[in-house]
């Protein structure tokens, strides 16, 4: 829930202590969410630890409702502090929305919430996945026209579509090992999709 008035800006997350952003000094460190507050709380959609799927319509409505109030433009002329605070809050809401709408970042976030994050050092124990990804990337790299690229992209998208229900089922079963495996596969498949979209250029994402 969000309250606002001309002089005060504060944000109350569902069933959690209010976060009073107005007390944050703009020149000091950025607004920090209390550690118990999740991005689900920020957007006021439930996460009960068993559901991977989210209600995208509800998420979007919640996102728009929040941004309607806290967008920094709405706070121009009401003092630098208010405007900067609004900008930070707006940033948090953007980030929450971005993470929860993308299936990969959402899965990664759920793993983080459950205390089993994907580590940079995690080794892929499935050489066939790497081989499959390498083959598709090479195919894409050697593609000669847009039609060929589109075909690769569609084949890859149907792999993503097959994967999502599996990911969802693994979250429901709390089988975090399987969630991790599916999440990593999703990351690679999304990478292929980005490369296909960027074709004939190379994607550059990080």
């Amino acid at each position: 829930m969000l309250r606002s008035s001309a002089s005060r800006l504060s944000l109350r997350f569902a069933a959690k202590p209010a976060v009073d952003f107005s007390s944050v000094r703009p020149e000091s460190a950025s607004v920090q969410l209390p550690s118990s507050t999740t991005y689900y709380d920020v957007l006021n959609v439930p996460y009960d630890g068993s559901a991977f799927d989210v209600d995208l319509v509800r998420l979007k409505k919640s996102f728009r409702d929040l941004q309607r109030i806290i967008h920094p433009d709405k706070w121009s002329g009401k003092g630098d502090t208010a405007q900067e605070t609004a900008a930070e809050m707006s940033g948090i809401v953007n980030r929450a929305y971005g993470i929860l709408t993308n299936p990969y970042t959402r899965a990664e976030y759920i793993l983080q919430l459950e205390g089993v994050p994907i580590e940079e050092q995690d080794n892929i124990e499935d050489p066939s996945l790497i081989m499959e990804v390498m083959e598709t990337r090479e195919e894409l790299d050697g593609a000669e026209d847009r039609t060929q690229v589109e075909q690769i992209r569609l084949d890859n998208l149907s792999k993503i579509n097959d994967l999502l229900p599996r990911l969802s089922a693994a979250v429901a079963d709390k089988d975090w090992g399987a969630v991790k495996e599916a999440t990593i596969r999703l990351k690679y498949l999304q990478g292929i999709d980005q490369a296909a979209q960027a074709w004939p250029n190379q994607p550059f994402d990080h």
């Binding site: 993308n102 996945l129 390498m134 990351k187 690679y188 550059f204």
Partner: protein
């Protein structure tokens, strides 16, 4: 119908949509050495993966979705005479593998497998968040060496375990089974 369903997934899958912007490399503070390898990667390509003198290393970084293939050709003296790589990933991963190919060419397998990721990271001035890219290059060369050695072992003891060769003639349908018992 299928297409629209797929397109919808894509929209979902790509809220963090990314595009090619090379100047971003600079904006993100990559060192000029990384940029040099990124823009002009050395030894890009492939070697015949089934050739007996070629070892292939294929590795991936799950946290960022990068894949890297590094192949070595080894001469009769155990020296890496040729090396090729293909990396699909970020600038640091490309630079790390490109640098690794330059570094191992002409080395013995023993020397090549001693190369540490810290050396690559230092040479390319990789920031801490990019250290895993240099680790990937280290994994790749080790995996290529392992693959090459495995191939040589199999070649020198091809029938070590014994097997039965079964073949069926496409023309006559006749099936022939030949036993190759273990040579022990």
């Amino acid at each position: 119908m299928l297409r629209s369903a797929l397109a919808k997934t894509v929209l979902n899958a790509n809220t963090r949509g990314t595009r090619v912007v090379v100047p971003q490399v600079l904006a993100r503070g990559y060192h000029e050495k990384v940029i040099s390898h990124y823009e002009k990667p050395r030894n890009v390509g492939s070697l015949p993966k089934n050739a007996p003198d070629v070892g292939t290393g294929l590795v991936g970084a799950p946290a960022c979705g990068d894949v890297m293939k590094l192949q070595i050709r080894v001469d009769e003296n155990g020296i890496i005479s040729d090396v090729k790589f293909k990396t699909f990933g970020c600038g640091s991963a490309i630079a790390s593998s490109s640098y690794m190919t330059e570094r191992v060419k002409g080395l013995s397998l023993e020397d090549a497998e001693k190369i540490k990721n810290t050396e690559i990271a230092k040479e390319l001035c990789l920031p801490p968040v990019k250290l895993h890219c240099s680790m990937l290059a280290e994994d790749a060369i080790r995996s290529a060496i392992r693959d090459y050695r495995k191939k040589r072992t199999n070649l020198s003891n091809p029938k070590q375990t014994g097997f039965i060769d079964v073949s069926q003639s496409a023309a006559t349908g006749e099936t022939v089974a030949t036993a190759h018992p273990s040579s022990v």
